[in-house]
């Protein structure tokens, strides 16, 4: 920095240069000066260690009390479950049906949730994930007519008709259909599966909405588009019979559109909470019917169906409990180790001081 301006001024009439005597300028602000020394950290270690172990045990038990069972129905080997459906193609008009029974030996406390699980499916692939148009999905007509470039190659079809919904994510929507029946009194009664509330409330109510145009019906609004991505069997306005669950605001669709973080993921399919099953799934034999439509063989993927009850913390997740217990034990262990070291060196350091 050049000092030019200052030097030109004369120094004759300088007022006192004495710096202000304030706590701030003299770096004497009141301050708390903590010190990480053994005697403060050690008790903390023990305290933290034991409380972590306690919490961990609690979490572990709570997680263990959650019931979960899963069934792989990929059928990758002939002879496996659904092996006959292995070579299904995506938008087959006649889905391959595959059924199997299973037994629950424990009561599943309700509400019970039904998930499908895909593995080796990279929803987190950059190219895949970017291939969507949130503006279109939130109902803007302009993007319905001209989806963003990111949707390519599912932006326009050969006839230059815009895809709705556009993009690879929408195109690859999971479309297996499940039906669950409970064997009671010699009869199978269908377990009512609720599709309400499987997507985030905000997604369903705010983020996703159907395009509207001068009181046109949903079908009419989609008229100028392909009405469905290339792989879909049904148009987007036929996803459900329920008007509040159709088009872009179809909950299955919304669930699918929330791309998963990892290559193996579960998505919520249905909730079991109504009819005779509000209390959960009782012990007994069940019969699962699957409309097997979704091909996973080509990328070595697997498909599973999962039934799970939840606690306030979600599904069965032993990781947290174990992590808390392990970490707590580590704390205690190192606490003891350090205590020994300190007691040994105590004398010497005291002499030093």
């Amino acid at each position: 920095m050049t000092m030019a301006p200052k030097d030109i001024q004369s120094k004759e009439s300088v007022p006192s240069q004495r710096p202000d005597n304030t706590a701030f300028t003299q770096q004497r602000l009141p301050a708390w000066q903590p010190l990480l020394s053994a005697s403060i950290v050690l008790p903390f270690f023990f305290l933290a260690g034991f409380s972590f172990i306690a919490v961990g045990i609690g979490l572990f038990y709570s997680s263990n009390s959650i019931k979960e069972c899963e069934f792989d129905y990929t059928g990758s080997q002939p002879g496996d479950r659904c092996g006959e459906c292995l070579n299904v193609v995506f938008n087959a008009t006649h889905p391959c049906n595959c059924n199997f029974t299973f037994n629950l030996t424990d009561v599943f406390q309700g509400p019970v949730f039904m998930y499908y699980e895909l593995s080796n499916f990279f929803q987190n692939h950059f190219r895949y994930m970017a291939s969507r148009d949130d503006t279109q999905l939130s109902g803007y007509l302009s993007n319905l007519k001209s989806p963003v470039n990111a949707c390519y190659p599912y932006q326009y079809d050969e006839k230059n008709t815009p895809y709705a919904p556009c993009g690879a994510v929408a195109n690859s929507m999971f479309n297996d259909v499940f039906k669950l029946s409970y064997y009671v009194n010699g009869n199978y009664t269908e377990v009512p599966l609720t599709g309400k509330g499987i997507a985030w409330w905000t997604d369903y109510n705010i983020k996703f909405s159907n395009p509207t145009e001068d009181n046109k019906t949903l079908t009419a609004v989609f008229e100028d588009t392909t009405q469905k991505p290339p792989q879909w069997a049904v148009p987007v306005w036929q996803l459900s019979d329920d008007a509040t669950n159709n088009g872009f605001v179809n909950e299955d669709f919304i669930v699918w559109m929330r791309t998963a973080a990892l290559p193996s993921f579960r998505k919520l399919y249905r909730r079991i909470e109504s009819g005779n099953f509000t209390e959960g799934l009782p012990v007994g034999q069940y019969f699962l019917q699957i409309d097997y439509k979704y091909p996973v063989l080509s990328f070595n993927g697997r498909k599973k169906i999962v039934f799970s009850s939840v606690s306030w913390m979600g599904g069965k997740n032993p990781f947290l409990g174990i992590a808390y217990i392990v970490f707590g034990s580590l704390c205690v262990f190192f606490g003891i180790l350090m205590l020994i070291v300190f007691l040994k060196t105590q004398g010497t350091t005291n002499d030093d001081m």
């Binding site: 770096q27 602000l29 010190l35 998930y115 987190n124 990892l262 990328f299 939840v310 997740n317 070291v341």
Partner: protein, 1158 residues
């Protein structure tokens, strides 16, 4: 064209733009009042106008020029490249992510620089627009300063500053002299007399001047303030008179006119070519050791970045080799991807990864460091302990780039006079005609005579004594106080001579002391009247005509005057160092004087010898002729003058010698002791002679009695010097228990440095104290340079007050100027300026230590937090097929460094005090804990880097295991997506990284609390806000309600807590273990300072106030501590009791800030 090296960029740009064509001739010809010759055989020269431009930018060029300057920085350029890459190729992150931080950094810097430039513009305009009076077309014209052209005759009134470099034409005095003060140029407050050439001096009015036809030839502009060579050709009665012009004819821009009503002068150097402006050179940038380590860290991270990018690219292609990964049916490639060439794709993939990981290079590091330095340096100038009450001067920071270097100093090179000593001279003894005298109670007492008439009448002086004091009174360059000169010009009204004693003004304190002593003895210099010097001898006025003044110069080391005595003799009086006087002496009590001089010197007095020479008339004529000739020479005038001076100053008769004491400054001993305890080696470099220097060294504690003092002096030949050096080396080896001090003189030093540099350095390094005497200014710089480039590359600090220390100050890593009596030059060229030597200990031990700790933690932490930031991103690539999917949302990527994590570290780096200041000052040994760049060495760097990677792994895999179970984390069974995963990692990261800073902080002011908790709170509030809105201008709404959903999950909370604590656990454990096992002195002080280790909790409850709050905690603690050992228990108990009153004691400390001085 050597002047161009000094004048910086503006001149260069100026020339480039063609405004200032390079000067081809070696001299410039100035036609006074721009009256060009009629004949037309001249080449018009172009000169710069008188506009001062210290500003860098104009409104028009600010943006491009500032951008250009900023992008010359490697880091900024790097981010620009990244940004451009993002713009050009299809990258996973939007260009905004790196563009916005870059824009932010550039804007902050530009605003700072723009503001500084605006201030400069304002100052420039003020200067350029100042009204001046110029003689044009026979009248006085008022115009603006910037309109002055070379050749204009300018009128300057009393107390105005000169608007350009002027050659004095006339003043309101008949002899054409005027007084000026150059305080704003070099800080010398004494009045200096400048003269007009006799032929122009008579032109005292505008109309007279209008008749003047003259041409001035002089050198091209150069920066040396004290050099001016030129001549004026005056056409009088169609006859050309040539008169020499020297510095005494030149009035420098920026100097101020005193004691004269008005002067007229011709502008010769204007605007950017004036000597003052040439002196505002942009100082060569000094870079601190921390900055160098910072750059090497940067390089390491750049390599890590490249490695990660290359690895990712290779992995991507390895995965893609299999079709099922490359292009499954649900994820078709675009045509572009399919068709583009392999190599191009490879490159663009590599670049994309580079962009993805580029944040590992912390973009805001530089701007934060700059802000920290800029803001932090205020604490130095604000420090009351560095404020000097008597001179009303506070510490001054000229560059904030080197704050932390103050904490790294290994060698201190200090000047003696004015630095270690007061530079307040006190006449003590003298030797006249071989008899030694002492001054006792204002009387001269010869040696051996007892003072039995303490109040008796003043005895007269012997003839020799009188001549001696006359010599002292005449041979000097002192000015008389301005009140007298001002009051009634050259009046005689104070003939009694006692009632008003004139004040002496001079740049040399020695001369002042001598004159005052002489006055006490009865021979008083009372002023200059025209060409006459007046001396009152016991009240009787004698007038001596001053014929010639042979100015002092550092090479000759003496000065002389030739006077015409009232009795008509022409006498030369010479005063100077004995080394320059004795060889030219042929008469007088040479031997005894020489003995006395040595005696004086060994007492630590500064000695000067006085001699005279009586000229015969013929001799004088010869002398006069040769002097006049030499002074009129245009080229190599200095050399000619030196020859003539040598011719004149010989065949001297010695008169005697003086001994003047220079008092040591306050607390020099303590300061040197403290610095030595801090592991700093101190070298004293002085121009004084050996005996004086040694005795001062002894009295200031630089040498002490127990030290074995080795000497390397008076070496004449190379061989002897080498032999002596070897001998010294042997002696040191034989006797390595005792401390050694080394004395070297300038001549021996130059021998030793020429051939035996290594040997000499070895000897020096094994000596505790080194004293170099008889040093020329450049030698000082050379010694500093030698140490600087020695293999250990120690950090050097040079401190001095005079112009002779400037080279050393500029050479050393840190240059410190003492605001002393010898002008401002040292201060102006220094990096820091303090008023007293004793302030050095606080500056180094406290400020240096703090700044080093602060900035090194800042640097390490910055790299750490960016490793934490980007490593999860890298790890995520393994889970997404290296498809370059980002883990975090773009906004988070952008704001991480700017908003979420920037403030706590900045506040830390401004306020951190790991140990209390008074502890640092009272325990200088703590300085050793940070020596050799200890906190930025390889080991700490590795530790921080691994910590960063470790933490990143914990965040990432912690979150991965939580989410990887594939179960719902919500009570309603719904699932999270990838953005929630990224947000989880990011949340954990922001909190951990902030908490890590909190762990590093030892000094929690309210500001620290505010920014630490504020940053975390801001992150939460921002995320809620950001996720709570559908942003109309964004393409994707990925983050919509993601954060809220995350926070509504109990599992996520449990995970966040454990991941954070697990991260910090490692670090805490390491800290505690190290504190206990490898305790550094600083840490020891921390624990003793706070009394006991539980003080932490204790002060916390004091902090929240109220002793009652302490009690339950204390009980719990006591119970807990009881387990450890009884000794500890009791210690805890007592300290707790005492510490609960800490607030009280703290108050005390507040009320007594001066107590910190101890």
């Amino acid at each position: 064209m050597d002047s161009c090296t000094n004048c910086g960029l503006f001149r260069w740009v100026w020339q480039l733009l063609g405004f200032d064509p390079p000067n081809h001739s070696e001299t410039r010809t100035v036609y006074v009042a721009n009256r060009f010759p009629q004949h037309g055989h001249y080449i018009p020269q172009k000169f710069a106008d008188n506009r001062i431009i210290s500003s860098k930018y104009t409104v028009l060029n600010f943006v491009p020029k500032n951008l250009f300057e900023q992008f010359r920085r490697i880091a900024n350029f790097y981010f620009l490249i990244i940004f451009l890459v993002q713009l050009m190729i299809d990258t996973p992150t939007s260009p905004v992510t790196s563009g916005l931080p870059l824009f932010f950094v550039i804007t902050v810097t530009a605003i700072k620089q723009g503001y500084e430039d605006w201030l400069r513009h304002k100052a420039d305009n003020e200067v350029n627009g100042a009204p001046v009076y110029v003689v044009r077309s026979g009248g006085l014209v008022k115009t603006r300063s910037k309109n002055i052209r070379v050749g204009d005759i300018v009128r300057v009134a009393k107390d105005e500053t000169f608007p350009a470099d002027l050659v004095l034409l006339s003043s309101d005095r008949i002899n054409g002299s005027c007084h000026i003060t150059t305080a704003s140029l070099d800080g010398e407050t004494n009045l200096k007399t400048h003269f007009a050439v006799a032929e122009t001096a008579v032109l005292q009015s505008v109309t007279d001047l209008d008749t003047l036809i003259a041409v001035i030839e002089c050198q091209q502009p150069e920066a040396d303030l004290y050099r001016f060579v030129g001549r004026i050709t005056i056409r009088q009665h169609s006859e050309d008179l040539v008169r020499p012009l020297g510095p005494e004819n030149l009035l420098l821009r920026g100097a101020r006119l005193k004691n004269s009503k008005e002067i007229f002068g011709v502008a010769v150097y204007t605007g950017m070519e004036a000597k003052m402006t040439l002196n505002y050179k942009t100082k060569s940038q000094k870079r601190s050791a921390v900055e160098k380590s910072m750059n090497s860290f940067l390089l390491v991270y750049l390599i890590i970045l490249l490695f990660e990018a290359i690895l990712s690219t290779i992995m991507k292609y390895a995965w893609q080799a299999e079709d099922q990964w490359d292009e499954p049916w649900y994820n078709r490639k675009t045509d572009k991807e399919r068709n583009s060439s392999k190599i191009l794709k490879f490159i663009s993939d590599f670049l994309a990864f580079l962009v993805l990981y580029n944040f590992i290079i912390p973009i805001s590091l530089y701007v934060t460091v700059e802000m920290q330095k800029f803001l932090g340096s205020f604490f130095i100038s604000w420090d009351l302990d560095l404020y000097h009450e008597e001179s009303n001067q506070r510490a001054q920071v000229n560059t904030s780039d080197l704050n932390e270097e103050l904490g790294q100093v290994e060698y201190v090179f200090t000047d003696k006079t004015g630095t270690l000593t007061e530079n307040e001279m006190q006449f003590k003894e003298c030797s006249v005609n071989g008899i030694k005298y002492q001054e006792i109670n204002g009387k001269l007492v010869p040696e051996g005579v007892t003072v039995d008439f303490p109040d008796g009448p003043t005895t007269g002086l012997t003839k020799e004594e009188e001549l001696f004091f006359k010599a002292i009174s005449l041979c000097h360059s002192v000015q008389i106080g301005q009140d007298r000169v001002d009051g009634s010009l050259d009046g005689f009204q104070c003939a009694n001579g006692i009632s008003t004693q004139p004040e002496y003004y001079t740049s040399s304190p020695d001369e002042k002391a001598l004159l005052e002593a002489s006055r006490r003895m009865g021979v008083a210099f009372s002023g200059i009247d025209g060409n006459f010097m007046e001396v009152k001898i016991f009240g009787k006025l004698e007038r001596y005509k001053l014929l010639h003044l042979l100015e002092f110069d550092a090479n000759r080391r003496c000065m002389s005057v030739i006077v015409d005595t009232p009795s008509g003799d022409k006498i030369l009086f010479t005063k100077g160092a004995e080394s320059s006087i004795f060889p030219n002496t042929k008469g007088g009590e040479l031997d005894r004087t020489s003995v006395h001089v040595d005696e004086f010197a060994s007492k630590g007095l500064r000695t000067l010898c006085v001699a005279y020479r009586r000229f015969t008339a013929e001799e004088y004529q010869e002398v006069d002729r040769r002097l006049c000739e030499a002074r009129a020479v245009l080229h190599q005038r200095e050399e000619c003058l030196a020859d003539v001076f040598n011719f004149i100053e010989k065949d001297l008769e010695i008169l005697g010698a003086t001994g003047v004491e220079d008092r040591l400054q306050d607390k020099v001993l303590e300061t040197i002791d403290a610095l030595r305890l801090a592991g700093i080696k101190i070298w004293v470099l002085t121009g004084d002679k050996q005996e004086t220097a040694v005795s001062v060294s002894l009295s200031c504690g630089h040498f002490h009695r127990g030290m074995n003092i080795l000497e390397l002096v008076h070496q004449k030949t190379d061989r002897d010097c080498a032999e002596q050096l070897r001998q010294l080396a042997r002696r040191i080896q034989d006797d390595h228990i005792i401390q050694h001090g080394l004395v070297v003189d300038g001549a021996s030093l130059s021998l030793a440095l020429r051939e035996h540099e290594k040997l000499f350095m070895d000897v020096c390094k094994s000596c505790t104290a080194v004293l170099c005497c008889r040093m020329a200014p450049l030698q000082k710089a050379k010694v500093v340079r030698l140490l600087k480039i020695s293999p250990e590359k120690p950090i050097t600090l040079a401190i001095g007050d005079g112009a002779n220390d400037v080279s050393m100050i500029q050479e050393a890593h840190v240059g410190i100027g003492i605001m002393g009596k010898e002008g401002r030059q040292a201060v102006r060229n220094s990096d820091y300026a303090i008023a007293r030597f004793k302030f050095l200990s606080k500056l180094l031990l406290v400020h240096g230590h703090y700044y080093y700790i602060r900035i090194s933690t800042l640097v390490q932490y910055f790299f750490y937090k960016n490793v934490c930031f980007i490593t999860p991103q890298f790890l995520y690539q393994f889970l997404c097929l290296f498809s370059q999917q980002t883990l975090y949302d773009s906004v988070y990527l952008t704001l991480y460094n700017i908003c979420f994590t920037s403030l706590p570290v900045l506040v830390y780096s401004l306020f951190e005090q790991h140990v209390h200041a008074h502890v640092l000052q009272s325990k200088p040994a703590l300085y050793r804990d940070i020596s050799k760049n200890a906190l930025l060495g390889f080991k700490p760097f590795l530790y921080w880097t691994f910590l960063g990677f470790g933490h990143a792994f914990v965040f990432f895999f912690g979150s991965y295991f939580l989410m990887g179970e594939d179960t719902s984390l919500l009570g309603n069974g719904q699932m999270f997506g990838n953005w929630t995963f990224g947000t989880l990692v990011f949340t954990v990261m922001v909190i951990t990284v902030t908490m890590k800073m909190a762990l590093e902080t030892h000094f929690w002011t309210w500001l620290n609390h505010f920014v630490t908790w504020g940053s975390i709170a801001f992150y939460f509030i921002f995320s809620l806000f950001y996720g709570g809105i559908i942003w109309p201008f964004l393409h994707t709404q990925d983050m919509y309600f993601v954060f809220v959903q995350l926070l509504s999950s109990g599992s996520a909370w449990f995970a966040i807590i454990i991941i954070i604590i697990a991260c910090l656990f490692l670090d805490v454990m390491k800290k505690v273990a190290y504190r206990h096992i490898y305790q550094t002195n600083t840490e020891k002080e921390q624990s003793t300072e706070t009394g006991s280790s539980i003080n932490c909790l204790d002060s916390m409850c004091c902090y929240s106030g109220g002793e009652t709050a302490c009690v339950p905690i204390r009980r719990v603690l006591e119970r807990m501590m009881g387990r450890c050992s009884p000794a500890r228990f009791s210690r805890c108990g007592t300290s707790l009791n005492s510490l609960c009153c800490q607030r009280f004691s703290y108050k005390l400390e507040n009320d007594e800030p001066t107590a910190l001085d101890e």
